[in-house]
Amino acid sequence: MSQGTLQIRKISGHPGPVPGANVERAEQVCKMIDTTTCIGCKACEVACLEWNGYSFSETHFDNSYQTMPETQWNYWNLIKFNEHERDDGSMMLLMRKDQCMHCADPGCLRACPADGAIVQYSNGIVDFQQQNCIGCGYCVSGCPFDIPKFNPTTKKMFKCTLCSDRVSEGLEPACIKACPTGCLHFGTKDDMVGIAEGRAKQLRDHFGFDKAGVYDPPGVGGTGVIYVLHDATNPEAYGGLPKDPHVPLMVRLWKGPAKWIGNLAMAGGILGVALHYLRFGPKIVREQEDKERRDDRGGRP
């Protein structure tokens, strides 16, 4: 989407070095979501739809304020509502803005076999390039957050772009702009982690949330979207946020060791052929056999 203006750091399914990598340095961008001050108004959902040009699709009531059960290929930003009872019987209504986490180590990108279908810009944004997408859906298996979604009409994958088109022009993502409570922040990763840690400390020190903390899972190398949670030890309560997400083993094996084993096997094969040649020399076709073949082809040499 923003290949023209943003510097690419990683490319899916691409052999060799990333063109222009390390030529220029960009700040790591990050979205900070304070779930403790979110009121679930869904302004971010509407802003996301409007900025990205998606329109109305029919939804159904499902015993919740939640717009739909999961994000969709054309609905990238969803507040997940969870009624949660604490041990003392008091209620909590946990509201978490669900979208692509923009992992530093993106499982989707690792899993993707199509050259250039998924890129990671040097500012950390992980972006799908639909013109290169082959619709294989491998990115789904690579994502620990169940984010990439398939458009059955175009047979391409879609997800939140962290408004890479806005960010490349120096604007904040649309969801950030629309948030009325200020629970959404956008800036450099360092700044956002600082604000998030400060808020978590405030929650621990002054508001009785002893387990408050920041969600920035190291299993995926940290994320470009981080959360402040009332209870960082129980992210699952926030609508299935994985406690310790990792790029799935199969993807890691496949694109990691397995890839090298494959390469090794390939190299081994070539080496074997060479050794075979050296050991046994070229294959000699005997006179009689050669003649028979020529006869089969109608006597031509």
Partner: protein, 848 residues
């Protein structure tokens, strides 16, 4: 942040403490808070004594409502004789008080009146200057406290009692009939146990909330301020006005009014509701909260005398009594209305203005139409059928009307009332009402000002042209007016003058621009004016810089006195966009313009101690500058600029007392000088405070066959409350795909326990039935509404968002039952503001 609500809302999710309250039990909760603050000495003592009427002595004969009734109730007419709801005349009574306390019986009605010392009586020079007796009805009720002039006028045959100019007081607050002692006594019954019985909030949780809120006044500390924020649901009870008042009283005793971060703040249902009220969009006020004339106001002099208050205060205190300028505001308003046709000789065209002889409030209008007494209606910017109460009654009323004009941007339940469920095609043929539907402009297609709850008058520009045949509202009104005027010109009529003489000097009379209107309501000089102190001159025709320039001799014109200063010779102040905030208090002095006089916090004199120093030296709003002998500050002082603190002028300059009213005297309120807990009109329990006085004794109920009220005996056992959702804006958003997608279907929020009892699962269709009608939607089974124990009885509450009806995207696609929530709500209203009881009525619930 403490959230008190019948449901655990999304706002509650961010709160430090949540209390689930029974709908309609708010006065008990707040009354309990007042008691807690007093008992634990978490009150602002100096503020209380100097800035409120706590020290004022109440008249002998006044009785607190231990049995549910204040003194003066007439059961036959169901109104109060309020003559005992008044202050005692006299001076300092602190010495006499000491003797009186010993013998004071439980009731304040006891006749232990000590002799007023009376030494100061009649000696106040200011009183002498004011001259004459108190004007009847001059109780200066502040900006918002417009009383129902017409209704009250008809009920009072005998002369209206007056506030005494020289009020008896006891600064020690010990006198048994001092407002403070009466307050203490009134809420002594609101114990934590009683609060639990009435509200359903467990005692320990209530105490936690009371402790947390009042902790800002621990050990006499005055630095912090606390605020009370409410949405209009608080007003929608048969005692709604008194709920807000209880909050105001709590804020007064805690010294939270006039302070940045304090006050009682309404979150209103529309971005310009404040503006609509300021403009006089209520039947009993003129623009700027001037009271409407009634038939007894035979001429301008009589009218002005009735509505202009005179001071009522302890003799050695001072009172600005700003409403004493009422004649200037009223005459300037008449000049704005009638221009050259308003002259001194014709009472400035006072006789052209309608006199209100009865209650024309919302519910009353629909009731009158239902009774066949109202033939037609203009419905602009509101969906009267969906608003209710008792939407079916409103639909049946419209069937009887001759005509209906609707100005809207979408078809709605009102403009297509014949599409309501239950009206067949054949029935529809028999409806004779002619409906004129006028396509109006949307908010982005108009310019003009919007006024928010902080009174910021903010100008906006046009973003888009009106589509198709749509017209700006002011163009529609202008063209109707010009045609009506032409008819009067050609045909005459009973009284054509008010129409023929109305000022209509707009550049294009067919299309008045809103900037011209804004300049008109700001006001201008009609002849050269000179300030006697500064010698500043305003030339004829120039915009006025502020309401201090207004005159009662016809030399100024001003549409709304409180807006004077919003569009001056320096340009449109309301369009300013300065974002600087040097004090860091969030004052933003240069952002738009705030009425009155660009003051951002009303009564900000109260942010200082009596000597004129800020309570919190780190958060200075205004202060007394000894060197210049004036009030200065980060905000515009809402006070007489040169009033030395030594003169003890009260900060509440709109009250004739100069101080905040803990006791609301005389006709300030229809139902009592202090708020008292009464049960909602439909309630599952007997009033624990006084079983013989269940509901507000002066509640207004209605008597047509449509007005049915339910009881637990008839099986209506569940409390129902209504509300809007964050995703919705009135009824418009039914037509916006985005909003429809966010909340795809109507639902009823039901506690898990109740759902289990009835075998209801989330997503099942349920039918809610009240004594009026029924509503069908899907069940939202939730843990966020818990069953409650109220007065020892298990009670369930359910909640229904109001939004859907029979016109809109979902409705047109047959995706819901097309019923309207307000078919359920009762036609019964608050006696002060006439707001219907949309919250806390009784229903039955079943699987549909």
């Amino acid at each position: 942040m403490i959230v008190v609500d019948p449901r655990f809302t999304r706002t509650a999710a961010t709160a430090d403490l949540f209390c689930q309250i029974r709908a309609g039990a708010d006065i008990a909760f707040l009354g309990g808070m007042i008691k807690y603050a007093i008992d634990n000495n978490r009150i602002a003592k100096d503020y209380l004594v100097n800035y409120t009427n706590a020290a004022f002595i109440v008249k002998d004969g006044f009785k607190l409502p231990d049995d549910g009734l204040y003194s003066g109730f007439d059961p036959a007419t169901q109104v109060y004789d309020k003559s005992t709801w008044n202050y005692q005349e006299g001076g300092d009574m602190s010495h006499a008080a000491a003797a009186a306390i010993v013998s004071a019986p439980a009731l304040a009605a006891a006749s232990n009146r000590p002799e007023p010392r009376g030494s100061e009586s009649g000696e106040d020079p200011q009183q002498a200057n004011q001259g004459g007796p108190q004007t009847p009805g001059g109780h200066g009720q502040g900006y918002q406290g417009a009383s129902p002039a017409g209704a009250k006028a008809t009920e009072s045959a005998k002369p209206t009692p007056m506030l005494p100019p020289n009020v008896a007081y006891d600064l020690t607050l010990q006198h048994p009939r001092s407002v403070f002692q009466l307050l203490k006594q009134q809420y002594s019954r609101y114990t934590p146990e009683m609060v639990e019985r009435i509200t359903g909030i467990p005692k320990d949780q209530f105490l936690k909330a009371a402790d947390l809120y009042t902790s800002i006044r621990k050990d006499g500390d005055m630095k912090k301020a606390g605020t009370v924020i409410y949405a209009v649901g608080w007003t929608q009870h048969t005692f709604g006005t008194q709920i807000i008042r209880t909050a105001a009283m709590l804020q007064l005793i805690m010294g939270n009014v006039g302070r940045a971060g304090g006050g009682v703040n309404a979150l209103r249902g529309h971005s310009n509701i404040q503006g609509a009220t300021d403009m006089g969009g209520v039947f009993d006020i003129w623009p700027g909260y001037l009271k409407v004339p009634n038939p007894a106001d035979v001429d301008l002099k009589t009218y002005l005398k009735r509505i202009t208050p005179t001071p009522s205060k302890p003799n050695n205190w001072d009172s600005f009594n700003y409403w004493s300028n009422t004649p200037k505001f009223a005459v300037s308003y008449l000049k704005a209305m009638y221009g050259d046709a308003a002259t001194k000789d014709n009472d400035f065209a006072f006789q052209y203005m309608p006199k209100i002889d009865r209650n024309y409030s919302w519910t009353q209008l629909w009731d009158n139409m239902y009774r066949g007494k109202v033939q037609g209606m203009f419905a602009f910017g509101m969906n009267g059928v969906a608003i209710g109460p008792d939407s079916q009654k409103n639909i049946d009323a419209l069937k009887k009307a001759d005509w209906l004009v609707v100005g809207e941007i979408y078809p709605d339940e009102t403009s297509e009332f014949w599409r309501s469920p239950g009206i067949s095609a054949d029935d529809a043929k028999n409806i004779q009402t002619t409906v004129y539907r006028l396509p109006c402009a949307g908010f982005a297609e108009k310019d003009g000002s919007m006024t928010n709850s902080s009174r910021w008058v903010q100008w906006k520009n046009i973003a888009l042209p009106t589509p198709g045949y749509a017209r700006l509202d002011q163009d529609i009104v202008a063209q109707i007016f010009l045609r009506v005027r032409a008819l009067y010109q050609s045909e005459g009529g009973k009284f054509p003058d008010p129409i023929l003489n109305l000022t209509w000097k707009y550049t294009d009379p067919q299309h008045p621009s809103l900037s011209e209107l804004a300049k008109e309501y700001n006001g201008k000089a009609l002849s050269d004016l000179t300030d006697p102190k500064t010698q500043q001159v305003i030339k004829t025709g120039q915009q006025l810089p502020g309401f201090a320039w207004l005159k009662d001799d016809g030399t100024t014109s001003c549409g709304i006195w409180i807006y004077c200063g919003c569009w001056t010779e320096a340009g449109p102040q309301l369009a300013r966009r300065g974002t600087e905030d040097p004090s860091g208090l969030g004052i933003y002095q240069n952002w738009a313009w705030s009425w009155p006089a660009n003051r951002r916090v009303l009564y900000n004199r109260a942010s200082c101690d009596p000597s004129g120093k800020p309570w919190d030296p780190d958060r200075k709003q205004v202060w007394w500058n000894e060197a210049t002998q004036t009030w200065v500050g980060n905000d515009v002082p809402d006070f007489k600029a040169d009033s030395n603190p030594k003169d003890h002028m009260g900060p509440f300059i709109m009250n004739p007392e100069g101080v905040g009213r803990i006791f609301g005297p005389l006709a300030a309120f229809a139902d009592g000088p202090f708020p008292e807990h009464y049960e909602p009109f439909e309630s599952p329990i007997t009033n624990p405070l006084h079983p013989n006085q269940q509901t507000n004794p002066v509640v207004k109920k209605f008597t047509t066959p449509a007005d049915k009220y339910g009881t637990t005996k008839d099986g209506f056992n569940i409390i129902c409350t209504t509300y809007r959702l964050t995703e919705h804006y009135h009824y418009w958003t039914k037509n916006n795909p985005m909003n429809v997608q966010l909340i795809p279907e109507p639902f009823v929020e039901i506690p898990v326990e109740l759902a289990n009892d009835l075998g209801i699962k989330g997503g099942d269709n349920v039918k809610v039935t009240s004594a009026r009608s029924y509503y069908v939607a899907k069940a939202f089974v939730t843990k966020r509404i818990k069953p409650m124990t109220v007065d020892g009885k298990m009670v369930y509450q359910i909640g229904i968002p109001i939004h859907q009806g029979y016109r809109g995207i979902q409705e047109d696609a047959d995706r819901n039952a097309r019923t309207i929530v307000n078919r359920l709500s009762p036609t019964v209203t608050d006696p002060n503001a006439y707001t219907p009881e949309f919250k806390g009525f009784l229903v039955k619930l079943e699987k549909a």
